[in-house]
Symmetry: C2
Subunit: 144 residues, 2 copies
C-alpha cells in the first residue's frame, strides 16, 4: 500500500503517517523509488496507537509499548496505572458534568449562592486550582 492508501483506509493523514514514522511509531516495509510502501499491518498498528491516544498516552509512551521488532510489548504496570488514572479522570469528569448540568438548570439568583454548586466548584478547585502540565527538567541556571 502506498501512503495515500493507508491514509484513506485509516483516516490518518499522510503527513501524520510520515510524522509517526519519524517517531518510530510505524514503519514502512520499503520504498518504490522515493515512495514509502506500507504493509497492511500498519492499519492494525494505527488502531493500537489510536487506543493509546484515546486512553491519554503520549506518543512516547505508546512508542515504548512496541518492542524494537515491532511486536507489542505490554507493560502491564503502566497499563494498569493508566487505567487507574483514567478512573480518576472519569470520576472528576462526572462531577464536572453534574456541575455543568446543575449550573444550566438551577435558577438560584447567583450560582454561587447555591450550596450544591459551591460544593462542585470546590471539587474542581481541589488539589490545586491551577496545575496541569509539568516541566521535564528545568536544566541548570546560568549564574547570571
Amino acid at each position: 500500500m502506498d501512503i495515500s492508501e493507508v491514509a484513506k483506509q485509516s483516516g490518518v493523514p499522510a503527513s501524520t503517517l510520515r510524522f509517526y514514522e519519524e517517531k518510530g511509531l510505524v514503519t514502512s516495509v520499503g520504498r518504490q523509488g522515493l515512495r514509502r510502501v506500507f504493509s497492511p499491518d500498519v492499519l492494525e498498528r494505527l488502531a493500537l496507537i489510536a487506543l493509546g491516544r484515546a486512553a491519554g498516552l503520549s506518543l512516547d509512551e505508546i512508542a515504548r509499548m512496541f518492542a524494537p521488532d515491532g511486536k507489542p510489548r505490554i507493560d502491564r504496570q503502566l497499563l494498569a496505572d493508566k487505567a487507574d488514572e483514567i478512573d480518576g479522570k472519569i470520576r472528576k469528569l462526572a462531577a464536572m458534568r453534574d456541575g455543568l448540568r446543575h449550573a444550566a438548570a438551577c435558577s438560584a439568583p447567583s450560582h454561587m449562592e447555591c450550596p450544591k454548586f459551591r460544593r462542585i466548584v470546590g471539587i474542581a478547585a481541589a488539589g490545586g486550582i491551577g496545575r496541569r502540565r509539568q516541566k521535564k527538567s528545568p536544566g541548570k541556571k546560568r549564574s547570571r
Copy 2:
C-alpha cells in the same frame, strides 16, 4: 490582597494571574504604585475558572461566561452541550480503561488475537483514527 497573597491562597502562580488578567479572566481592583491589588472575590472567580477548565472549557469559552461587569453570565445551552460532550468523553474513557485493564490482565499470546481486545481497539479507532484538533480559520493564501 497583593498578587502573591492571591497566589498563595489559590495555588495559582502569579504569572498565571497576570496572564489571566491580560485575557480578561480576572481583574484587579486597582494598583498601589505598580502593584496590582486584588479583591478576595478573585478567589471565587479562580475557583469558577478551575471548574471550567476541569470540565474542558477553553479559557476563551470561560471568558465568555462572565458578563462584562464580571458577574457570571450563564449560557445554559453551552453548559448543557458541554455536559453532553463530557458524557461522551466519559463513555469513551470507560471503554479505554476497560481496554487497558484487559490488556494488562489478558494473557493471549498476542493481544490482537483476543476478540475482546480487538473490539476495544475498534472503538478507539472508530470515528476516525486520527483527529483531535480543528483549525480555526485557514486565512487567505498569498498568491505566491
